[in-house]
Protein backbone atom coordinates (compact mmCIF):
# COMPACT_ATOMS: atom_id res chain seq x y z
CA UNK A 1 0.00 0.00 0.00
CA UNK A 2 1.40 3.41 -0.84
CA UNK A 3 1.45 6.28 1.62
CA UNK A 4 -1.62 8.06 0.25
CA UNK A 5 -3.75 4.92 0.37
CA UNK A 6 -2.54 4.13 3.86
CA UNK A 7 -3.50 7.60 4.97
CA UNK A 8 -7.00 7.18 3.55
CA UNK A 9 -7.46 3.96 5.47
CA UNK A 10 -6.28 5.68 8.62
CA UNK A 11 -8.62 8.64 8.20
CA UNK A 12 -11.43 6.19 7.67
CA UNK A 13 -10.49 4.17 10.76
CA UNK A 14 -10.45 7.30 12.92
CA UNK A 15 -13.62 8.90 11.66
CA UNK A 16 -15.83 5.91 10.86
CA UNK A 17 -16.87 4.86 14.39
CA UNK A 18 -17.78 8.36 15.56
CA UNK A 19 -19.27 9.28 12.19
CA UNK A 20 -21.44 6.16 12.17
CA UNK A 21 -22.71 6.86 15.68
CA UNK A 22 -23.24 10.56 15.03
CA UNK A 23 -25.14 9.80 11.85
CA UNK A 24 -27.28 7.30 13.73
CA UNK A 25 -28.01 9.28 16.90
CA UNK A 26 -27.80 12.89 15.71
CA UNK A 27 -28.25 13.27 11.97
CA UNK A 28 -30.82 10.53 11.47
CA UNK A 29 -33.06 11.72 14.34
CA UNK A 30 -32.71 15.26 13.06
CA UNK A 31 -33.90 14.26 9.59
CA UNK A 32 -36.63 12.12 11.15
CA UNK A 33 -37.71 15.12 13.21
CA UNK A 34 -37.98 17.21 10.05
CA UNK A 35 -40.12 14.49 8.50
CA UNK A 36 -42.32 14.33 11.61
CA UNK A 37 -42.79 18.08 11.51
CA UNK A 38 -44.57 17.68 8.15
CA UNK A 39 -46.74 14.85 9.45
CA UNK A 40 -49.84 14.36 11.55
CA UNK A 41 -48.22 11.88 13.92
CA UNK A 42 -49.70 11.76 17.40
CA UNK A 43 -50.65 9.05 19.86
CA UNK A 44 -53.78 8.44 17.77
CA UNK A 45 -51.92 8.38 14.49
CA UNK A 46 -48.85 6.55 15.75
CA UNK A 47 -48.64 3.82 13.13
CA UNK A 48 -50.86 5.22 10.41
CA UNK A 49 -49.46 8.69 10.02
CA UNK A 50 -49.32 10.70 6.83
CA UNK A 51 -47.56 13.76 5.52
CA UNK A 52 -49.70 16.87 5.72
CA UNK A 53 -47.35 19.56 4.47
CA UNK A 54 -46.90 22.73 6.47
CA UNK A 55 -50.05 22.37 8.60
CA UNK A 56 -48.16 21.79 11.85
CA UNK A 57 -46.07 24.90 11.25
CA UNK A 58 -49.14 27.03 10.61
CA UNK A 59 -50.61 25.56 13.81
CA UNK A 60 -47.48 26.63 15.71
CA UNK A 61 -47.85 30.21 14.54
CA UNK A 62 -51.62 30.40 14.85
CA UNK A 63 -51.83 29.32 18.50
CA UNK A 64 -51.74 32.48 20.63
CA UNK A 65 -50.02 30.58 23.44
CA UNK A 66 -46.89 30.43 21.31
CA UNK A 67 -46.38 34.20 21.32
CA UNK A 68 -46.87 34.51 25.08
CA UNK A 69 -44.38 31.73 25.71
CA UNK A 70 -41.96 33.20 23.18
CA UNK A 71 -42.10 36.56 24.99
CA UNK A 72 -41.52 34.82 28.32
CA UNK A 73 -38.54 32.96 26.88
CA UNK A 74 -36.93 36.22 25.78
CA UNK A 75 -37.62 37.77 29.19
CA UNK A 76 -36.25 34.65 30.90
CA UNK A 77 -33.08 34.65 28.82
CA UNK A 78 -32.38 38.37 29.13
CA UNK A 79 -32.96 38.59 32.90
CA UNK A 80 -30.93 35.46 33.63
CA UNK A 81 -27.96 36.24 31.44
CA UNK A 82 -27.92 39.86 32.64
CA UNK A 83 -27.67 38.82 36.28
CA UNK A 84 -25.25 35.99 35.54
CA UNK A 85 -22.85 38.44 33.92
CA UNK A 86 -23.40 41.21 36.47
CA UNK A 87 -22.87 38.99 39.53
CA UNK A 88 -20.18 36.91 37.83
CA UNK A 89 -18.04 39.85 36.73
CA UNK A 90 -18.52 41.63 40.05
CA UNK A 91 -17.37 38.60 42.05
CA UNK A 92 -14.48 38.05 39.67
CA UNK A 93 -13.32 41.63 40.23
CA UNK A 94 -13.50 41.07 43.98
CA UNK A 95 -11.73 37.73 43.82
CA UNK A 96 -9.01 39.11 41.58
CA UNK A 97 -7.71 41.24 44.45
CA UNK A 98 -5.17 40.09 46.97
CA UNK A 99 -7.53 38.82 49.63
CA UNK A 100 -7.19 36.14 52.25
CA UNK A 101 -8.79 32.78 51.50
CA UNK A 102 -9.25 33.59 47.82
CA UNK A 103 -9.18 30.02 46.59
CA UNK A 104 -11.61 28.90 49.29
CA UNK A 105 -14.11 31.58 48.28
CA UNK A 106 -13.62 30.66 44.65
CA UNK A 107 -14.34 26.99 45.30
CA UNK A 108 -17.39 27.73 47.45
CA UNK A 109 -18.78 30.11 44.86
CA UNK A 110 -18.47 27.52 42.08
CA UNK A 111 -20.64 25.00 43.96
CA UNK A 112 -24.00 26.01 42.38
CA UNK A 113 -22.58 25.14 38.98
CA UNK A 114 -21.25 21.81 40.22
CA UNK A 115 -24.44 20.46 41.77
CA UNK A 116 -26.63 18.44 39.36
CA UNK A 117 -29.30 20.75 37.95
CA UNK A 118 -32.28 18.59 38.79
CA UNK A 119 -31.21 18.61 42.45
CA UNK A 120 -30.82 22.39 42.38
CA UNK A 121 -34.32 22.72 40.94
CA UNK A 122 -36.02 20.29 43.32
CA UNK A 123 -34.25 21.76 46.34
CA UNK A 124 -35.27 25.31 45.47
CA UNK A 125 -38.80 24.09 44.81
CA UNK A 126 -38.83 22.93 48.41
CA UNK A 127 -37.46 26.27 49.57
CA UNK A 128 -40.26 28.09 47.73
CA UNK A 129 -42.96 26.05 49.50
CA UNK A 130 -45.60 28.39 50.91
CA UNK A 131 -45.79 27.14 54.50
CA UNK A 132 -42.54 25.31 55.15
CA UNK A 133 -40.13 26.69 52.56
CA UNK A 134 -37.08 28.53 53.84
CA UNK A 135 -37.68 31.60 51.65
CA UNK A 136 -41.06 32.44 53.13
CA UNK A 137 -39.86 31.56 56.63
CA UNK A 138 -36.99 34.02 56.27
CA UNK A 139 -39.32 36.67 54.83
CA UNK A 140 -41.76 36.35 57.72
CA UNK A 141 -39.47 35.56 60.66
CA UNK A 142 -36.58 37.93 59.95
CA UNK A 143 -37.95 40.61 57.68
CA UNK A 144 -41.50 40.76 59.01
CA UNK A 145 -42.99 40.44 55.53
CA UNK A 146 -46.00 38.35 54.62
CA UNK A 147 -45.26 35.07 52.86
CA UNK A 148 -45.45 35.02 49.06
CA UNK A 149 -47.42 32.28 47.24
CA UNK A 150 -44.45 31.55 44.98
CA UNK A 151 -45.56 28.36 43.30
CA UNK A 152 -49.29 29.11 43.28
CA UNK A 153 -49.24 32.12 40.95
CA UNK A 154 -47.86 32.27 37.41
CA UNK A 155 -45.73 35.33 38.15
CA UNK A 156 -44.48 33.82 41.40
CA UNK A 157 -43.52 30.53 39.78
CA UNK A 158 -41.76 32.32 36.94
CA UNK A 159 -39.89 34.51 39.42
CA UNK A 160 -38.96 31.44 41.46
CA UNK A 161 -37.53 29.76 38.37
CA UNK A 162 -35.55 32.89 37.51
CA UNK A 163 -34.13 33.23 41.04
CA UNK A 164 -33.09 29.57 40.99
CA UNK A 165 -31.49 29.89 37.60
CA UNK A 166 -29.59 33.05 38.56
CA UNK A 167 -28.25 31.19 41.58
CA UNK A 168 -27.01 28.34 39.47
CA UNK A 169 -25.69 30.31 36.51
CA UNK A 170 -23.45 33.06 37.87
CA UNK A 171 -20.44 30.81 38.70
CA UNK A 172 -19.82 30.05 35.03
CA UNK A 173 -19.52 33.76 34.20
CA UNK A 174 -17.43 34.33 37.31
CA UNK A 175 -14.92 31.66 36.36
CA UNK A 176 -14.66 32.90 32.77
CA UNK A 177 -14.27 36.52 33.92
CA UNK A 178 -11.64 35.51 36.47
CA UNK A 179 -9.65 33.81 33.71
CA UNK A 180 -9.96 36.93 31.58
CA UNK A 181 -8.83 39.23 34.39
CA UNK A 182 -5.74 37.19 35.03
CA UNK A 183 -4.63 37.56 31.43
CA UNK A 184 -4.67 41.38 31.56
CA UNK A 185 -1.04 42.53 31.81
CA UNK A 186 -0.23 44.30 35.07
CA UNK A 187 1.84 47.00 33.31
CA UNK A 188 -1.35 48.61 32.03
CA UNK A 189 -2.42 49.33 35.59
CA UNK A 190 1.05 50.56 36.54
CA UNK A 191 1.00 52.99 33.61
CA UNK A 192 -2.46 54.16 34.67
CA UNK A 193 -1.22 54.65 38.24
CA UNK A 194 1.58 56.89 36.96
CA UNK A 195 -1.01 58.93 35.10
CA UNK A 196 -2.92 59.25 38.36
CA UNK A 197 -6.01 57.29 37.33
CA UNK A 198 -8.62 56.48 39.97
CA UNK A 199 -9.58 52.87 40.48
CA UNK A 200 -12.97 53.45 38.83
CA UNK A 201 -11.21 54.94 35.78
CA UNK A 202 -8.91 51.92 35.65
CA UNK A 203 -11.88 49.55 35.80
CA UNK A 204 -13.74 51.43 33.10
CA UNK A 205 -10.90 52.04 30.66
CA UNK A 206 -8.70 48.99 31.15
CA UNK A 207 -10.48 46.11 32.83
CA UNK A 208 -13.91 46.15 31.21
CA UNK A 209 -12.77 46.70 27.60
CA UNK A 210 -10.16 43.95 27.91
CA UNK A 211 -12.66 41.63 29.54
CA UNK A 212 -15.13 42.02 26.69
CA UNK A 213 -13.51 39.68 24.13
CA UNK A 214 -13.42 36.93 26.77
CA UNK A 215 -16.99 37.49 27.89
CA UNK A 216 -18.70 37.68 24.51
CA UNK A 217 -18.25 33.99 23.59
CA UNK A 218 -19.21 33.04 27.15
CA UNK A 219 -22.34 35.20 26.94
CA UNK A 220 -23.26 33.62 23.61
CA UNK A 221 -22.92 30.23 25.23
CA UNK A 222 -24.92 31.48 28.22
CA UNK A 223 -27.73 32.67 25.96
CA UNK A 224 -27.92 29.30 24.21
CA UNK A 225 -27.89 27.34 27.49
CA UNK A 226 -30.42 29.59 29.20
CA UNK A 227 -32.81 29.79 26.26
CA UNK A 228 -32.99 25.99 26.14
CA UNK A 229 -32.80 25.23 29.84
CA UNK A 230 -35.56 22.71 30.38
CA UNK A 231 -34.58 21.43 33.82
CA UNK A 232 -35.19 24.49 35.93
CA UNK A 233 -38.51 25.74 34.56
CA UNK A 234 -39.95 22.25 34.26
CA UNK A 235 -38.97 21.02 37.71
CA UNK A 236 -39.61 24.25 39.65
CA UNK A 237 -43.10 24.57 38.19
CA UNK A 238 -43.72 20.80 38.23
CA UNK A 239 -44.39 20.76 34.50
CA UNK A 240 -45.82 24.24 33.99
CA UNK A 241 -48.02 24.73 37.08
CA UNK A 242 -50.11 26.64 37.89
CA UNK A 243 -52.53 26.00 35.02
CA UNK A 244 -49.83 25.51 32.41
CA UNK A 245 -48.79 29.15 32.76
CA UNK A 246 -45.15 28.69 33.66
CA UNK A 247 -43.42 27.81 30.43
CA UNK A 248 -40.58 28.81 28.21
CA UNK A 249 -40.45 27.48 24.65
CA UNK A 250 -38.43 24.39 25.50
CA UNK A 251 -40.72 23.29 28.34
CA UNK A 252 -43.76 24.09 26.19
CA UNK A 253 -42.54 21.76 23.45
CA UNK A 254 -41.49 19.06 25.95
CA UNK A 255 -45.04 19.11 27.27
CA UNK A 256 -46.53 18.99 23.77
CA UNK A 257 -44.39 15.96 22.98
CA UNK A 258 -44.48 13.90 26.15
CA UNK A 259 -47.63 14.93 28.03
CA UNK A 260 -49.95 15.76 25.14
CA UNK A 261 -48.41 13.34 22.61
CA UNK A 262 -48.72 15.86 19.78
CA UNK A 263 -45.69 14.45 18.00
CA UNK A 264 -46.00 16.20 14.63
CA UNK A 265 -46.76 19.53 16.27
CA UNK A 266 -43.87 19.15 18.74
CA UNK A 267 -41.48 18.30 15.92
CA UNK A 268 -42.49 21.44 14.02
CA UNK A 269 -42.20 23.53 17.17
CA UNK A 270 -38.72 22.09 17.83
CA UNK A 271 -37.60 23.26 14.41
CA UNK A 272 -39.09 26.72 14.99
CA UNK A 273 -37.35 27.03 18.38
CA UNK A 274 -34.06 25.94 16.89
CA UNK A 275 -34.30 28.49 14.07
CA UNK A 276 -35.22 31.27 16.51
CA UNK A 277 -32.22 30.49 18.71
CA UNK A 278 -29.89 30.17 15.73
CA UNK A 279 -30.96 33.56 14.37
CA UNK A 280 -30.76 35.19 17.82
CA UNK A 281 -27.29 33.93 18.61
CA UNK A 282 -25.92 34.63 15.15
CA UNK A 283 -27.17 38.20 15.26
CA UNK A 284 -25.78 38.60 18.77
CA UNK A 285 -22.37 37.36 17.64
CA UNK A 286 -22.48 39.60 14.59
CA UNK A 287 -23.39 42.69 16.58
CA UNK A 288 -20.69 42.08 19.13
CA UNK A 289 -18.10 41.00 16.55
CA UNK A 290 -17.44 37.79 18.40
CA UNK A 291 -15.29 35.09 16.89
CA UNK A 292 -17.06 32.84 14.45
CA UNK A 293 -17.83 30.01 16.83
CA UNK A 294 -19.22 29.76 20.30
CA UNK A 295 -16.69 27.24 21.58
Amino acid sequence: MNAAARKRVLVFAFTAPAAAILLAVVLYPFVYNMLLSFSDMSLRHFRLWSLIGLKQYSKVFSEPGFYTVFGKTILWTVINVFFHVLIGVFLALVLNQQIKGRSIFRTLLILPWAIPQFIVALTWRGMFNYEYGAINLILSQYLGLSPIPWLQSPTGAFAAAIITNIWLGFPFMMVIALGGLQSIPGELYEAADIDGATSWQKTRSITLPLLKPVMIPAITLGIVWTFNNLNIVWLISNGGEPADQTHILVSYVYRAAFNLYRFGYAAALSVVIFVILLVLSLSFMKRTHATASAY
Binding site: K7, L10, V11, F14, T15, P17, A18, V25, V26, L27, P29, F30, Y32, L36, M41, L91, V94, L95, I99, W113, A114, I115, P116, F118, I119, V120, L122, T123, R125, G126, M127, E131, Y132, L137, I138, Q141, W167, V175, G179, P217, A218, N228, L230, N231, L235, V250, V253, Y254, F258, A267, L269, S270, I273, F274, L277, L278, T291, S293, A294, Y295
Partner: protein
Protein backbone atom coordinates in the same frame (compact mmCIF):
# COMPACT_ATOMS: atom_id res chain seq x y z
CA UNK B 1 -11.30 46.49 51.63
CA UNK B 2 -13.66 45.79 54.48
CA UNK B 3 -16.57 46.51 52.13
CA UNK B 4 -15.21 44.07 49.55
CA UNK B 5 -14.88 41.43 52.20
CA UNK B 6 -18.39 41.98 53.48
CA UNK B 7 -19.81 41.67 49.97
CA UNK B 8 -17.86 38.50 49.37
CA UNK B 9 -18.97 36.90 52.62
CA UNK B 10 -22.61 37.84 52.05
CA UNK B 11 -22.58 36.38 48.55
CA UNK B 12 -20.86 33.23 49.70
CA UNK B 13 -23.40 32.74 52.48
CA UNK B 14 -26.27 33.20 50.00
CA UNK B 15 -24.60 30.66 47.77
CA UNK B 16 -24.16 28.12 50.52
CA UNK B 17 -27.53 28.56 52.17
CA UNK B 18 -29.54 26.14 49.96
CA UNK B 19 -26.88 23.48 50.47
CA UNK B 20 -26.94 23.96 54.23
CA UNK B 21 -30.74 23.77 54.06
CA UNK B 22 -30.65 20.37 52.36
CA UNK B 23 -28.20 19.11 54.93
CA UNK B 24 -30.42 20.39 57.71
CA UNK B 25 -33.53 18.71 56.27
CA UNK B 26 -31.67 15.42 55.91
CA UNK B 27 -31.13 15.43 59.69
CA UNK B 28 -34.77 16.03 60.61
CA UNK B 29 -36.53 13.33 62.58
CA UNK B 30 -39.75 12.03 61.02
CA UNK B 31 -42.03 13.88 63.44
CA UNK B 32 -40.45 17.26 62.70
CA UNK B 33 -40.18 16.90 58.95
CA UNK B 34 -42.52 19.79 58.29
CA UNK B 35 -41.22 22.41 60.60
CA UNK B 36 -41.26 26.17 60.44
CA UNK B 37 -38.03 26.47 62.35
CA UNK B 38 -34.98 27.83 60.58
CA UNK B 39 -32.38 26.28 62.87
CA UNK B 40 -29.63 24.47 61.02
CA UNK B 41 -29.18 21.52 63.33
CA UNK B 42 -32.79 20.49 63.99
CA UNK B 43 -34.01 19.51 67.43
CA UNK B 44 -33.60 15.78 67.97
CA UNK B 45 -31.51 15.44 64.83
CA UNK B 46 -30.94 11.95 63.49
CA UNK B 47 -29.13 10.11 60.73
CA UNK B 48 -32.13 7.84 60.25
CA UNK B 49 -32.83 9.13 56.73
CA UNK B 50 -29.42 7.92 55.59
CA UNK B 51 -30.01 4.52 57.18
CA UNK B 52 -33.45 4.21 55.56
CA UNK B 53 -31.98 5.22 52.21
CA UNK B 54 -29.52 2.37 52.13
CA UNK B 55 -31.39 -0.25 54.14
CA UNK B 56 -35.09 0.14 53.41
CA UNK B 57 -35.23 1.92 50.07
CA UNK B 58 -33.90 0.67 46.72
CA UNK B 59 -31.33 3.46 46.78
CA UNK B 60 -28.35 1.11 46.33
CA UNK B 61 -30.05 -0.42 43.32
CA UNK B 62 -30.49 3.04 41.75
CA UNK B 63 -26.89 3.85 42.58
CA UNK B 64 -25.78 0.70 40.81
CA UNK B 65 -28.00 1.43 37.79
CA UNK B 66 -26.74 4.99 37.53
CA UNK B 67 -23.14 3.87 37.83
CA UNK B 68 -23.59 1.25 35.12
CA UNK B 69 -25.22 3.68 32.68
CA UNK B 70 -22.72 6.46 33.41
CA UNK B 71 -19.68 4.21 33.02
CA UNK B 72 -20.85 2.86 29.67
CA UNK B 73 -21.64 6.36 28.39
CA UNK B 74 -18.19 7.51 29.56
CA UNK B 75 -16.33 4.68 27.86
CA UNK B 76 -18.25 5.15 24.62
CA UNK B 77 -17.71 8.90 24.75
CA UNK B 78 -13.97 8.66 25.34
CA UNK B 79 -13.40 6.00 22.68
CA UNK B 80 -15.35 7.88 20.02
CA UNK B 81 -14.28 11.42 20.86
CA UNK B 82 -10.57 10.61 21.17
CA UNK B 83 -10.43 9.17 17.66
CA UNK B 84 -12.88 11.51 15.94
CA UNK B 85 -11.31 14.56 17.62
CA UNK B 86 -7.91 13.45 16.35
CA UNK B 87 -9.19 13.11 12.80
CA UNK B 88 -10.80 16.57 12.96
CA UNK B 89 -7.58 18.04 14.30
CA UNK B 90 -5.04 16.36 12.02
CA UNK B 91 -6.57 15.26 8.74
CA UNK B 92 -8.22 16.96 5.82
CA UNK B 93 -11.24 15.10 4.53
CA UNK B 94 -14.49 15.65 2.73
CA UNK B 95 -17.17 17.14 4.98
CA UNK B 96 -14.78 18.12 7.76
CA UNK B 97 -15.94 21.70 7.98
CA UNK B 98 -19.60 20.78 7.60
CA UNK B 99 -19.15 18.15 10.31
CA UNK B 100 -17.60 20.57 12.78
CA UNK B 101 -20.23 23.23 12.15
CA UNK B 102 -22.94 20.61 12.41
CA UNK B 103 -21.66 19.48 15.81
CA UNK B 104 -21.68 23.07 17.01
CA UNK B 105 -25.19 23.68 15.75
CA UNK B 106 -26.56 20.66 17.65
CA UNK B 107 -25.84 22.60 20.83
CA UNK B 108 -28.70 24.91 19.88
CA UNK B 109 -31.25 22.13 19.48
CA UNK B 110 -34.07 22.27 22.01
CA UNK B 111 -34.12 19.04 24.04
CA UNK B 112 -37.03 17.60 22.08
CA UNK B 113 -35.34 17.99 18.70
CA UNK B 114 -33.43 14.73 19.10
CA UNK B 115 -35.27 13.29 22.07
CA UNK B 116 -38.67 13.01 20.37
CA UNK B 117 -37.49 11.19 17.22
CA UNK B 118 -35.16 8.99 19.30
CA UNK B 119 -38.05 8.24 21.65
CA UNK B 120 -40.31 7.23 18.76
CA UNK B 121 -37.51 5.13 17.28
CA UNK B 122 -36.95 3.41 20.62
CA UNK B 123 -40.67 2.67 20.93
CA UNK B 124 -40.69 1.13 17.45
CA UNK B 125 -37.55 -0.90 18.12
CA UNK B 126 -38.92 -2.07 21.46
CA UNK B 127 -36.00 -0.46 23.31
CA UNK B 128 -38.05 1.67 25.65
CA UNK B 129 -37.35 0.61 29.23
CA UNK B 130 -33.86 -0.53 28.39
CA UNK B 131 -30.41 0.79 29.14
CA UNK B 132 -29.47 0.57 25.46
CA UNK B 133 -32.10 3.21 24.76
CA UNK B 134 -30.95 5.62 27.41
CA UNK B 135 -27.27 5.08 26.61
CA UNK B 136 -27.97 5.97 22.96
CA UNK B 137 -29.69 9.21 23.96
CA UNK B 138 -27.00 10.23 26.46
CA UNK B 139 -24.26 9.52 23.95
CA UNK B 140 -26.06 11.67 21.39
CA UNK B 141 -26.24 14.47 23.97
CA UNK B 142 -22.63 14.40 25.14
CA UNK B 143 -20.72 13.39 22.02
CA UNK B 144 -20.75 16.65 20.01
CA UNK B 145 -19.25 18.60 22.91
CA UNK B 146 -16.69 15.87 23.59
CA UNK B 147 -15.52 15.74 19.97
CA UNK B 148 -15.04 19.52 19.92
CA UNK B 149 -13.30 19.40 23.22
CA UNK B 150 -10.86 16.71 22.08
CA UNK B 151 -10.23 18.44 18.75
CA UNK B 152 -9.38 21.63 20.62
CA UNK B 153 -7.01 19.74 22.86
CA UNK B 154 -5.19 17.99 20.02
CA UNK B 155 -4.85 21.36 18.28
CA UNK B 156 -2.63 22.53 21.14
CA UNK B 157 -0.19 19.62 20.62
CA UNK B 158 2.33 20.51 17.90
CA UNK B 159 2.22 18.35 14.78
CA UNK B 160 6.04 18.25 14.74
CA UNK B 161 5.85 15.52 17.40
CA UNK B 162 4.18 13.12 14.99
CA UNK B 163 6.48 14.18 12.17
CA UNK B 164 9.52 13.39 14.27
CA UNK B 165 8.09 9.97 15.09
CA UNK B 166 7.34 9.36 11.41
CA UNK B 167 10.93 10.19 10.48
CA UNK B 168 12.04 7.63 13.04
CA UNK B 169 9.92 5.12 11.14
CA UNK B 170 6.78 4.98 13.27
CA UNK B 171 3.36 4.66 11.61
CA UNK B 172 0.84 7.45 12.13
CA UNK B 173 -1.29 5.16 14.24
CA UNK B 174 1.67 4.34 16.46
CA UNK B 175 2.44 8.05 16.75
CA UNK B 176 -1.15 8.72 17.78
CA UNK B 177 -1.37 5.85 20.22
CA UNK B 178 2.02 6.11 21.89
CA UNK B 179 2.87 9.81 21.66
CA UNK B 180 -0.21 11.99 21.20
CA UNK B 181 -2.75 10.10 23.28
CA UNK B 182 -0.63 10.17 26.48
CA UNK B 183 -0.02 13.91 25.95
CA UNK B 184 -3.75 14.42 25.52
CA UNK B 185 -4.50 12.76 28.87
CA UNK B 186 -5.94 15.94 30.45
CA UNK B 187 -8.28 16.32 27.48
CA UNK B 188 -9.35 12.70 27.85
CA UNK B 189 -10.03 13.27 31.53
CA UNK B 190 -12.30 16.22 30.77
CA UNK B 191 -14.16 14.23 28.14
CA UNK B 192 -14.59 11.34 30.55
CA UNK B 193 -15.77 13.51 33.44
CA UNK B 194 -18.12 15.49 31.22
CA UNK B 195 -19.74 12.33 29.84
CA UNK B 196 -20.00 10.84 33.29
CA UNK B 197 -21.64 13.90 34.82
CA UNK B 198 -24.05 14.22 31.88
CA UNK B 199 -25.32 10.69 32.45
CA UNK B 200 -25.19 10.80 36.25
CA UNK B 201 -27.25 14.00 36.61
CA UNK B 202 -29.92 13.58 33.96
CA UNK B 203 -33.58 13.40 34.86
CA UNK B 204 -35.92 14.52 32.07
CA UNK B 205 -34.76 12.04 29.43
CA UNK B 206 -34.62 9.18 31.89
CA UNK B 207 -38.16 9.97 33.04
CA UNK B 208 -39.47 9.34 29.52
CA UNK B 209 -37.42 6.28 28.70
CA UNK B 210 -37.14 4.31 31.94
CA UNK B 211 -40.57 3.51 33.30
CA UNK B 212 -39.86 0.16 34.92
CA UNK B 213 -38.95 0.81 38.56
CA UNK B 214 -36.26 -1.91 38.52
CA UNK B 215 -34.37 0.17 35.96
CA UNK B 216 -34.63 3.51 37.78
CA UNK B 217 -31.53 5.64 37.92
CA UNK B 218 -30.78 7.94 40.88
CA UNK B 219 -32.49 11.07 39.49
CA UNK B 220 -35.82 9.28 38.91
CA UNK B 221 -35.62 7.71 42.33
CA UNK B 222 -34.92 11.02 44.03
CA UNK B 223 -37.76 12.73 42.18
CA UNK B 224 -40.12 10.14 43.69
CA UNK B 225 -39.05 11.10 47.20
CA UNK B 226 -39.48 14.75 46.34
CA UNK B 227 -43.01 14.20 45.04
CA UNK B 228 -44.15 12.98 48.45
CA UNK B 229 -42.56 15.87 50.26
CA UNK B 230 -44.50 15.48 53.51
CA UNK B 231 -43.31 11.96 54.22
CA UNK B 232 -40.04 11.54 52.35
CA UNK B 233 -38.51 15.03 52.38
CA UNK B 234 -35.62 13.91 54.59
CA UNK B 235 -34.96 10.96 52.31
CA UNK B 236 -34.85 13.28 49.32
CA UNK B 237 -32.43 15.58 51.12
CA UNK B 238 -30.14 12.79 52.25
CA UNK B 239 -30.24 11.15 48.82
CA UNK B 240 -29.52 14.35 46.96
CA UNK B 241 -26.46 14.97 49.12
CA UNK B 242 -25.18 11.47 48.44
CA UNK B 243 -25.79 11.90 44.70
CA UNK B 244 -24.21 15.36 44.60
CA UNK B 245 -20.98 14.45 46.35
CA UNK B 246 -19.38 12.48 43.48
CA UNK B 247 -20.73 14.93 40.88
CA UNK B 248 -19.43 17.97 42.77
CA UNK B 249 -16.05 16.38 43.47
CA UNK B 250 -15.54 15.44 39.83
CA UNK B 251 -16.73 18.84 38.73
CA UNK B 252 -14.33 20.73 40.96
CA UNK B 253 -11.47 18.61 39.65
CA UNK B 254 -12.66 19.29 36.14
CA UNK B 255 -13.60 22.94 36.33
CA UNK B 256 -10.15 24.38 35.66
CA UNK B 257 -9.69 22.26 32.56
CA UNK B 258 -13.26 22.67 31.39
CA UNK B 259 -13.00 26.41 31.35
CA UNK B 260 -9.64 26.46 29.63
CA UNK B 261 -11.18 24.13 27.04
CA UNK B 262 -14.14 26.41 26.53
CA UNK B 263 -12.07 29.56 26.15
CA UNK B 264 -9.33 27.87 24.16
CA UNK B 265 -11.87 26.80 21.56
CA UNK B 266 -13.28 30.29 21.34
CA UNK B 267 -9.95 31.70 20.27
CA UNK B 268 -9.18 28.88 17.90
CA UNK B 269 -12.63 28.72 16.33
Amino acid sequence: MLLTYTFLVVFTLATLYPIVQVFSISLRPANRLLSTSLEIIPQGWTLDAYRQLFVEKPFLRWLLNSTLVSVIVTLTGVALASTAGYAFSRFEFLGKKAGLTGLLVTQMFPATMLLLPLYIMLVKLGLLNSYIGIIIVYTATALPFCVWQMKGYYDTIPYTLEEAARIDGATQFFAFYRIILPLAAPGLVITALFSFITAWSEYLVAAQILQDSALYTLPIGLKQFESSMSTEWALYAAGSLVVSIPAVTLFLLLSRWLVSGLTLGSVKG
